[in-house]
């Protein structure tokens, strides 16, 4: 093609007079722009890339919580009292559940143990994306539901507490709620130790939610600690069984038993009736839930007489053989008349305990000042909150000594005018069992001998033990507390129950507190029967037999050799070669 083209470089139009600096400026501006971009790129990629990396990671990395196993509760011999077992919870997305398979839905309803209409009602609200169907079912049921293969029904792994011992230890062990937090008993008292701490790990999940890679460090979960109680499950079961039989036989409302080791202060058994099954807590009443040994208070009655005598002995005001005139069997003070069941005439101090004379105890107490009495009661734990790692232990009531009127000082001598729980009564008697020192009680296993606070001298404690043995022997009120082979001692008590401001005429409470063997006591046992209404109501008739059987079995289980000569009742002879 032949065209007349002006060479570019020599076109007169382009031979302009634009100054050179203008083109240089444009170049410079462009260069600056590119430098800024490069610097920004360096800044993002090299210098300050954390923020962007983190943002990117957030898009695909997840933090998984690693749940911690809840610790077990075991008894002093290592037997399981409470342990967690897997119990899946069934949930559903109502929208995804197929409606056209009524057979499968009916099977599901049967497995979940709920009527079909209520299952359908749960599934009918299609707006919800998460509906609990049933929480914490058995693992076998969960497997069967999984085998059904229904769409829209899912399971979440949860744990539930199992209690092999059931009713016998229900009050001590307690229970947890659906979120696995302790609500009562040891489960509550040691919830922090039992729960442990959940761990975490960062992982990368793929689109389907499967874990693909672990990222960074994982914080391992801290499993809950196992709690070992001082309770001996065999003694506990036996005490509960005998208590239950006694309450049923005497048509009583309730009862409690407390067994404390006299050397170490450990609580070997604490049983109450009525009780409940911790695994199935539907339809519980408040009556069943109360740990009566710790929460129910009553006036200790005759249980205080040995304490009154002990403090008089300690202060040197009487000796065990001092004669106390209790005739004519009644005493007037402050407008009230205090009576004995019989006119016992002149009794020794030992006889006051043996015959359980109110007038005798009163006269002994009048040799003491209210301040001294209050000091001894307080030193033995009355009116004080029990130092026990257990929730719900009540303080009882002991009014300050300055507010005592003379008649009140008199009635406190034989146990009226103050109130205490069965545990406090049993605990105060450990002072007599432990050579005059009150030892701290514990619910956690601690096998070393306890070091107590001296309240009485060892000599006076031994004198009181002798009086307790007399009270449980011939001539005393607690003869039915005797066992075969073991020497026992103890004090029975009977009282009208308080109704409103006065006392009910035919509602009684019967109890017995004692220890065995009497020379070197190993255990202190206290039994209380509430409202026996089958004719017999004295402590020596109703509570003492439970004491006797509990002591017999407990000492046999502990391997204590019988210290009394045993008359054989059944004799057999066998030729054996060893």
């Amino acid at each position: 093609m032949s065209r007349k083209s002006i060479p570019y470089t020599s076109s007169p139009l382009l031979a302009s007079r634009t100054p050179v600096w203008r083109s240089k400026l444009v170049v410079a501006l462009a260069a600056i722009g590119f430098t800024v971009l490069a610097a920004r790129a360096v800044h993002i990629q090299v210098l300050a890339n954390d923020f962007y990396q983190r943002q990117g990671e957030v898009r695909f990395a997840r933090t998984l919580a690693l749940p911690a196993n809840r610790g077990r509760i075991i008894d002093r011999n290592g037997l399981i009292l409470a342990s967690s077992v897997p119990a899946p919870s069934i949930w559903a997305i109502p929208e995804d559940v197929p409606r056209d398979n009524p057979v499968a839905l009916k099977q599901l309803a049967k497995l979940l143990d709920m009527p079909l209409p209520s299952l359908q009602r749960k599934l009918e609200n299609e707006d919800k994306t998460f509906v609990w169907l049933k929480r914490q079912v058995d693992e076998s049921v969960g497997k069967q539901i999984e085998a059904l293969g229904l769409k829209g029904i899912y399971q979440r792994k949860e744990y539930r507490r199992e209690h092999p011992e059931g009713e016998a230890t229900a009050h001590v062990v307690g229970f947890t709620n659906i979120e696995d937090k302790g609500q009562e008993g040891i489960e509550l008292a040691f919830d922090a130790d039992l729960a442990g701490r959940a761990g975490s790990r960062r992982v990368i999940k793929d689109r389907l939610g499967r874990v693909v890679e672990g990222v960074g460090e994982q914080v391992p979960p801290v499993d809950g600690k196992d709690i070992q109680l001082s309770i001996d499950s065999k003694i506990q079961f036996f005490a509960y069984q005998k208590l239950r039989d006694a309450v049923t036989t005497n048509k009583a409302k309730a009862g409690s038993v407390v067994v404390i080791d006299a050397i170490t202060g450990e609580i070997l058994a604490m049983a109450n009736y009525p009780s409940f099954s911790p695994d199935d807590r539907s339809g519980l009443t408040g009556e069943q839930l109360r740990n009566r040994a710790l929460t129910d208070v009553f006036e200790p009655g005759s249980t205080m007489k040995p304490i009154t005598v002990a403090m008089a002995l300690e202060a040197g005001r009487v000796k065990p053989q001092t004669l106390i005139e209790t005739g004519p069997g009644r005493f007037s003070i402050g407008g009230f008349t205090i009576r004995d069941t019989h006119d016992y005439g002149a009794l020794t101090v030992e006889g006051v305990i043996q015959k359980s004379s109110n007038v005798g105890a009163l006269k002994i107490a009048q040799k003491m000042s209210p301040h001294e009495m209050w000091n001894t009661f307080t030193a033995l734990g009355y009116g004080q909150k029990p130092q026990l790692q257990f929730p719900g232990a009540v303080t009882g009531r002991l009014r300050p000594w300055k507010t005592w009127k003379p008649v009140e000082q008199a009635t406190m001598a034989y146990g009226y005018g103050l109130s205490a729980s069965l545990f406090q009564m049993a605990h105060s008697y450990t002072a007599f069992a432990h050579d005059g020192s009150l030892i701290p009680a514990t619910i956690i296993k601690s096998p070393e001998p306890a070091i107590g606070v001296p309240v009485f001298s060892a000599q006076n404690a031994a004198a009181i033990r002798k009086m307790l043995q007399m009270a449980a022997g011939p001539g005393g009120t607690g003869q039915r507390a005797q066992t075969i082979g073991y020497s026992v001692g103890g004090k029975s008590g009977t009282a009208h129950k308080q109704v409103g401001k006065g006392y009910a005429t035919n509602k009684y409470r019967a109890w017995f507190t004692g220890m065995a063997p009497i020379d070197k006591p190993r255990i202190v046992v206290a039994v209380m029967i509430d409202e026996p209404s089958a004719g017999k109501y004295f402590g020596g008739e109703v509570a003492a037999p439970v004491f006797s059987e509990t002591v017999q079995q407990a000492l046999r289980l502990m391997g204590v050799t019988p210290d009394m000569a045993v008359k054989p009742q059944i004799v057999t002879a066998v030729e054996e070669s060893l």
């Binding site: 897997p86 011992e165 065999k234 059944i570 002879a573 066998v574």
Partner: protein, 110 residues
Amino acid sequence: MTRLNLVLLLAVMASALYLVNVQYESRRLFTAMERANSEGRRLDTERDRLQVERRAQATPQRVEKLAREKLQMRPATPAITHYVAYSDASASPATSAADGTARAASGRLP
């Protein structure tokens, strides 16, 4: 010069393939480890559950019921005395206190 480029290109490709292989191996091993871990946890909970079940089989309630009903046992008290005669000539002097006193009282055995 092109030979060097070719060699480098082949090296890069080999390295890339090796990287892919290593990544795949690591993912595979990771999933195997995860599976083993969860199997271990499952076995742990299974063992705990079985321990609880074993304990439930041996609770005092159940033991007493079976002892009374199936085995016809009755509780022992110290009042039941059971004499055992040694037919061995070198009888050891160590015997239980109950047997000793009872034997002495009845004069039955040397």
